[in-house]
Amino acid sequence: MKTAAGVLGKVQATRSASLWNDAWRRLKKNKVAVISLIYTLFICLVALLANHLAPYSYKDPIGDPNLFSTLFPSLKFPFGTDQLSRDLFSRCIYGAQMSMSVGIVTAVSSLVLGLIYGGISGYVGGRLDGVLMRIVDVLFSFPSLLLIILIQSMIGRGLLGIYLALTIVGWVSTARLVRGQVLQVKEMVYVEAARSIGSRGTMIVFRHIFPNILGPLIVTLTFNIPNNILAESFLSFLGLGVPPPYASWGSLARDGYQALQTYPHLIFFPSILIFLVVLAFNLLGDGLRDALDPKMKR
């Protein structure tokens, strides 16, 4: 005869079926997403450890420009060297640090800004919501490239300028998304229930609304990061991005563009790195979105 303890033991042995565990399990099944996750984590690691991984400096020439200038890829220099006899492999590693940090930091900052703005707008509702969203509409119709140039001309061409410019241009769409999500969740039964038992606003926001919009937010973040990486690359290619001697993949592509037909390796390697990272983040974002969608039953 089974004892009560035995039955209880079996109950405790089943895995807890929270949203996050469910999502993680679904994600693990998606092979493409897992590969993309591993790749993005790998690039992040490279970016963090750039100083230790790069065999040469990103800005100092290797030696006599007559000997080391613009070499094709070889065992000693896996990506070759550039016109100022700098090792392209090291420059690409530092480029990873620059591109990833710009992409991730600006995506996170715009997310935080958008979260606060959209959250307030959606939760408070009414006239404030209308006013805030009209402001967002106006900002949204601004050509982003012009806005970036404007911000950079005011703050200067340095790193701070790029971070600020991309953050300011990016928070608008996140604000809209958050506001939509908050409006949706606000009408849910459990929020009504919480209000009816007397929970205060802040408690509702933090305990009910915020966790329920987190899913879409994470997915948005995963898509915004490659967008910002691409935006920074595009700006650097135009000459508006990181100033020399800093190197991002975009500015490396720009340097390599001069020798497109004669030394294609100079533009090939940075470009393929941009491509792979953007692809990986997008595939990961797709996988996360599928995994976090509570309506999908598997």
């Binding site: 800005k59 420009p65 613009t70 016109q83 000459g239 100033p243 020399p244 001697p245 037909q261 030394y263």
Partner: protein
């Protein structure tokens, strides 16, 4: 009906393709940026010059050996004391609106150049003329006292304040070209628009799409032999690599700047021409902005540059330069100037009060957005970091904007080139006098001015060489308001089926004899 449409479209398509396949007789070349100005009293740069020398001419013109030859003046007399030049203007020259070209047009143009209200940077070009400098500085209000005279409709007389051996070269330069007073006064700043401008050269400015294309057409009323090309298009292309693709797909016939890495690909091809160039590339300081108000700091920065490295990056046959008068001109002094010396650079910087670069304010190096300029700037940035321990910020702007910035608020360090306006050292060294409108260093040195004036008056070649040697020592070794980096070379791509184009050491782009075999 539907069935008939396809054959009709194919027919139309094949007709248009047929006309494209035939060789277009328009000569096309690349302009590396939008011309800042086509007003020849105001233009100071080589891009504007490319257009100006084809739509206008002056009294005198250089032949391909850079010897002055009669142009609009059929002959001239020089007085025995060397101070008075009398130019006899041809009587058959017409402006392209039909009006005859007379000495009055020269008088008006030279007056406009010297008029302080015009604020022409090149006003100093005519300072050899009697009372010209006094009039331009505002000390003299009555222009009739300046040494210019219209003797009659076709005789223009110039009186100098002192004889000058190089003076016959001066009227070849575009700022001395004649100008129509009625047109300039009628249209104001828009007088150079294609529908307003009136010219008398081998070509007419028929269209100017800003930042895109300048179109010239043959001038039927040109006084000389009619130009061979019927139409010329100058395509404004900022990116050198784009220009190369256009050249390779036969969309342009002439390029005069090749990206350093592409040079290797073309070096052995028949399209490639390498020619000497009387042009220097230098970095200038603003001697009023700290830390460059201290000559020791300027010297230190110059000692820290290894010019050989810069030249090996550019791979275009450039020549490292420590002095200012270029190779190929008399007065060239390779032994003068500051060479590469890392130890000396550091010790000078320490002597100036900034050991290892500590205590220095933020320093910005400013350059115009050209790919080779960027390479040089990055190299110099890394050299200064390596040998002085200083981090310099790089900034760049498009040519037209860049020139404006140099005039209005000169940055601490900036780059420029200087091509000879005529093949005489006076033209190169005069650039840094206190009265030169083209001197962006803000350096004013009485000793230097005196040396240049003496050299201008001197006719004995050996004495002139000595004077110019002293001037260059002061300019590039002692006070160092600027750092010469290298002398340029011309790297040209020209389609083999183009005849009649001869590069000259001053890169004067004369296109009237260009002929294209189909």
């Amino acid at each position: 009906m539907r069935n008939a449409l396809l054959p009709i479209l194919l027919l139309l398509f094949s007709i248009t393709s047929c006309t494209k396949a035939k060789h277009d007789q328009t000569f096309r070349f690349v302009l590396t940026s939008e011309p800042p100005s086509l007003d020849w009293s105001l233009a100071t740069d080589h891009v504007s010059a490319d257009i100006l020398v084809n739509i206008m001419e002056g009294l005198v013109i250089f032949d391909n050996n850079l010897k002055p030859q009669p142009a609009m003046a059929e002959k001239w007399d020089v007085s025995p004391d060397g101070k008075t030049y009398t130019f006899h203007i041809r009587k058959n020259i017409k402006w392209n609106d039909g009006k005859p070209l007379t000495a009055h047009d020269f008088y008006y143009s030279w007056q406009r150049l010297l008029d302080p209200k015009t604020a022409a940077e090149y006003a100093y070009f005519l300072f050899d003329v009697k009372n010209a400098q006094e009039f331009n500085s505002g000390k003299l209000k009555d222009f009739s006292k300046v040494g210019l005279k219209v003797v009659d409709n076709y005789t223009f007389q110039v009186e100098l304040s002192h004889p000058a051996s190089y003076f016959i070269n001066v009227p070849t330069f575009w700022v001395t070209f004649p100008m129509r007073k009625d047109i300039v006064e009628k249209f104001g700043p828009n007088w150079t628009d294609p529908q307003n401008i009136v010219t008398a050269g081998p070509f007419i400015l028929s269209d100017w799409k800003h930042d895109a294309k300048v179109t010239l057409t043959r001038n039927p009323t040109y006084y000389g032999t009619p130009a061979i090309p019927e139409k010329i298009e100058a395509l404004i292309i900022n990116e050198d690599i784009t220009a190369i693709s256009l050249f390779e797909t036969d969309k342009v016939q002439l390029i005069r700047r090749i990206p350093p890495l592409e040079l290797q690909r073309f070096k052995n091809k028949p399209e490639y021409i390498n020619a000497p160039y009387l042009r220097g590339y230098y970095y200038g300081f603003n001697v009023n902005k700290p830390p460059f108000d201290n000559p020791k700091v300027r010297q230190a920065f110059s000692y820290a540059i290894d010019r050989k490295q810069i030249v090996s990056i550019l791979k275009g046959g450039q020549i490292p330069a420590t002095s200012w008068v270029p190779k190929g001109m008399f007065g060239f002094e390779p032994g003068v100037g500051i060479g590469f010396d890392s130890k000396k650079a550091r010790s000078l910087l320490a002597e100036a009060g900034y050991p290892d670069g500590k205590g220095l304010p933020k320093i910005t190096l400013y350059f115009d957005s050209r790919d080779d300029n960027r390479l040089v700037a990055e190299k110099v940035q890394s050299l200064w970091k390596e040998h002085l321990g200083i981090e310099v910020t790089l900034e760049n702007a498009e040519w037209k904007v860049y020139l404006k910035q140099l005039q209005t608020d000169t940055p601490q360090v900036w780059r420029l080139g200087w091509g000879a306006d005529y093949p005489d050292p006076h033209n190169f060294l005069e650039l840094f006098t206190s009265y030169s409108g083209n001197n962006n260093t803000h350096w004013k040195n009485q000793t230097y001015d005196t040396l240049i004036n003496e050299g201008a008056k001197e006719f004995d070649r050996n004495k002139r060489e000595e004077i110019y040697r002293d001037a260059q020592i002061l300019l590039t070794e002692k006070d160092v308001p600027m750092m010469p980096l290298f002398y340029e070379a011309q790297n040209i791509l020209l389609k083999p089926y183009v005849k009649g184009f001869q590069p000259n050491a001053m890169n004067i782009l004369i296109l009237k004899n260009v002929e294209m075999d189909s």
